[in-house]
């Protein structure tokens, strides 16, 4: 089991996605079962990989894999819970994209980054990292719901056959999923960001960089979230625009996850 690699679970997720796509054309129950088994196997291998290699979530590589892992659970839960909906078709591409990005980044920074925090600040560093990661998961869930929302809204706009094509959740359900994800992610991001700022301000941090992409991006996401909440609750922006704004925030989140960490420096031990 030590030989489980990123390609193992990446391919499992990919095959599960291909089977789900095939099910759109040939709706056989066997395809769904096989897809679920492959997806489940992928998630198991993914979990095993994270447990064995323990990539640091503070690195882009580790963070992407951790977020992909939570989305993997989200995929499996949703596929079982919404058996008649094309759940996997929307969630698995996100999982695959994150795993793919991690695959690209593996050789560049997975093993190189370490953290410049004093041991006393490790706890707050971990809390900052976990909160930001959970907020990222929230944004991903919101973005998945937004993509589905846009497709469903397009189908309604075009007045397509309600029982034809890909089976999806209702607009109301998707809007609620998006809203809950953002509502949950915002406080997590705010607290995570606040801890990060305090850590950066503390004298013990070596080479604080207030203008790094990571810091600016995180502040940017926070502002986008604020705008999102304002637009939703004060301006009552239509769901379609909120969905687009959520997808934009996902792009920012991915950029932030990939960016170098301000607490990290290359080639030095903690």
């Amino acid at each position: 089991m030590q030989n489980v690699t990123l390609a193992c679970f990446g391919l499992s997720y990919l095959l599960a996605l291909l089977l789900e796509l095939a099910r759109l054309k040939w709706p056989k129950p066997g395809l769904r079962t096989t897809g679920l088994i492959l997806g489940g196997a992928g998630l198991f291998a993914h979990s095993w990989f994270l447990a064995v290699h323990q990539p640091s979530p503070a690195t882009a590589y580790g963070a992407l894999l951790a977020v992909a892992w939570v989305l993997g659970i989200f995929y499996l839960y949703g596929s079982l819970h919404h058996a008649k909906r094309a759940w996997a078709i929307f969630v698995l591409p996100f999982v695959l994209a994150l795993v793919g990005l991690a695959f690209v980044l593996v050789s560049t920074d997975a093993d190189a980054q370490s953290f410049a925090l004093e041991s006393g600040q490790r706890f707050w560093g971990a809390a900052h990292g976990i909160l930001i990661l959970l907020a990222s998961v929230g944004v991903c869930v919101g973005a998945i719901a937004s993509v589905m929302y846009l497709i469903q809204a397009r189908r309604l706009r075009k007045k397509l056959n309600p029982l034809g094509g890909v089976k999806m959740l209702s607009l109301e359900r998707l809007e609620s999923m998006n809203r809950r994800a953002i509502n949950a992610a915002f406080p997590l991001l705010s607290v995570g960001l606040l801890i990060g700022v305090l850590l950066l301000k503390s004298e013990n941090v070596i080479t604080p960089d207030w203008f790094s992409l990571k810091v600016l991006g995180t502040v940017g996401i926070w502002i986008v979230f604020l705008v999102l909440l304002y637009m939703r609750y004060a301006v009552h922006l239509p769901g379609r625009r909120l969905a687009m704004l959520t997808i934009f925030s996902l792009v920012l989140v991915v950029a932030v996850l990939i960016a170098d960490h301000s607490f990290a420096r290359r080639g030095e031990s903690p």
Binding site: Q152, A153, R154, R155, L156, R157, K158, K159, N161, P162, L163, G164, M168, L169, S170, L171, E172, R173, S176, H236, P238, G239, R240
Partner: protein, 424 residues
């Protein structure tokens, strides 16, 4: 198999005549008992808005019941001239009757192919006849088989997929927008027949509140009372629309009651959250189609709903060929099994008789050879006699089975009976 299906349907008879030929429960009961007593046959009577069919069976090979007699019988029951009914009737006999029943029950012969009601109506007709004791071995077996065929058609082909009533399609659209209905408000605009029909479907979703508005408040009160809703004066239409999640509009207004300008200026600003689904089934249309954006407002008018209905019907046509293949295979299976069942007792008797002959020849022979044969040799001789018997009977038994399939079973049964000296 002496089976006949005689009747008329939407293709052969106009609705006025079908109405006159329709049976209520009491009339059907009387007809079944009368038919069964008069002709000594098994019978089932199917009466729906699209067809009236008599399925009769039994009474021997020369059972006389035909289209002319059916016309006379129906005329007698309904007080009509047989001559007026006779040209409307079709007749399907024997295997064709089995096939016709399967096609009817599987909804392949329906006005809207794939509609789900007919199988239930056939089942009801059969149950009613069974309770009265007018069914027998053939119709009991046939109707059970036919209902199984209909189920196969529904589950193995997509012929029953989608909805074909305008109201059902409207509800399908509503379900694309909303997930829960216990917190939703439905607004009914107008009090026409279509409103009441679609409202029935919407009521099944159990909305929190139903508001009813109409130019005539008394009509709005009448509809509201019938559906447990709340009447709203016509002047408050804009406010009611602002509160509503689903609006069902069926007025007879000659001009749109909700032009885009009015909606944008008077309704939209009052709406804060959520999508409004407008089901505009009025002709001419009540709502300006320009208010539809698929996000804040989803507007579906009668043309949209009819288009989906037509699409579904067209889609179902694709499944006709596989459904017909199921019918053909099942009809063959049924007729083969039925005919085998008919010649079964004769085949059994033939085997028993030849068994007796074999034993009568073999026993003295083995007696003569007693002590000269080893057990293995004795067994070989017995096996050879059994083989000889099987080869001898293979021809007659196959002929009996085949004759059954080809409908010549009676002559063949008589021939085998005579040739082998069997009792009838």
């Amino acid at each position: 198999m002496n089976l006949r299906v005689i009747g008329c349907n939407f293709r052969t008879a106009a609705v006025e005549l079908r109405e006159k030929l329709a049976f209520d429960d009491a009339k059907r009961e009387r007809a079944l008992l009368e038919l069964s007593a008069r002709y000594g046959c098994e019978c089932v009577l199917l009466s729906t808005c699209n067809r009236v069919e008599l399925t009769v069976a039994g009474g021997g090979e020369d059972f006389p019941f035909d289209t002319a007699m059916a016309a006379e019988f129906l005329g007698e029951i309904h007080g009509l001239y047989a001559a007026d009914i006779r040209p409307l009737l079709y007749e399907h006999a024997k295997e064709a009757g089995v096939k016709h029943l399967a096609r009817v029950t599987g909804s392949l012969d329906s006005l809207i192919v794939g509609e789900g009601q007919i199988a239930g109506q056939v089942k009801d007709a059969f149950e009613a006849a069974r309770r009265l004791g007018t069914t027998g071995p053939l119709l009991n077996t046939l109707f059970h088989h036919t209902l199984r065929v209909a189920k196969r058609i529904r589950t193995e082909t997509g012929i029953a997929s989608g909805h074909v009533s305008v109201s059902s399609v409207a509800v399908d659209y509503v379900k694309q927008v909303f997930d829960t209905f216990h917190d939703k408000t439905v607004l009914i605009i107008g009090a026409g027949k279509m409103a009441r029909l679609t409202l029935k479907h919407l009521q099944s979703l159990k909305p929190r509140q139903i508001l009813v508005t109409n130019r005539s408040l008394s009509k709005a009160i009448e509809v509201a009372d019938a559906c447990g809703g709340m009447p709203v004066p016509w002047q408050e239409l804009d406010d009611a629309l602002a509160k509503a999640d689903i609006a069902l509009s069926t007025t007879g207004a000659p001009e749109p009651i909700m032009p885009r300008k009015r909606f944008v200026e008077k309704v939209q600003p009052k709406r804060h959250m959520g999508t409004l689904v407008v089901l505009d089934i009025a002709v001419p249309r009540d709502f300006d189609p320009a208010i539809h954006d698929g996000d804040r407002v989803c507007l579906f008018n009668i043309d949209d709903l009819m288009r989906i209905r037509e699409q579904t019907i067209a889609q179902r046509q694709k499944y006709l060929a596989p459904a017909e293949a199921i019918v053909n295979a099942e009809v063959k299976k049924f007729t083969d099994e039925w005919n085998r069942r008919k010649s079964g007792p004769m085949i059994q008797q033939l085997r028993q008789e030849v068994d007796k002959v074999r034993a009568a020849v073999l026993e003295p022979l083995l007696g003569k050879l007693n002590g000269k044969l080893t057990p293995a040799e004795k067994e070989s001789i017995e096996a050879a006699f059994r083989l000889f018997q099987n080869k001898l009977l293979h021809g007659p038994i196959s002929a009996l089975n085949d004759a059954g399939i080809e409908g010549e079973s009676r002559r063949m049964l008589e021939a085998v009976q005579k040739l082998f000296g069997l009792k009838g």
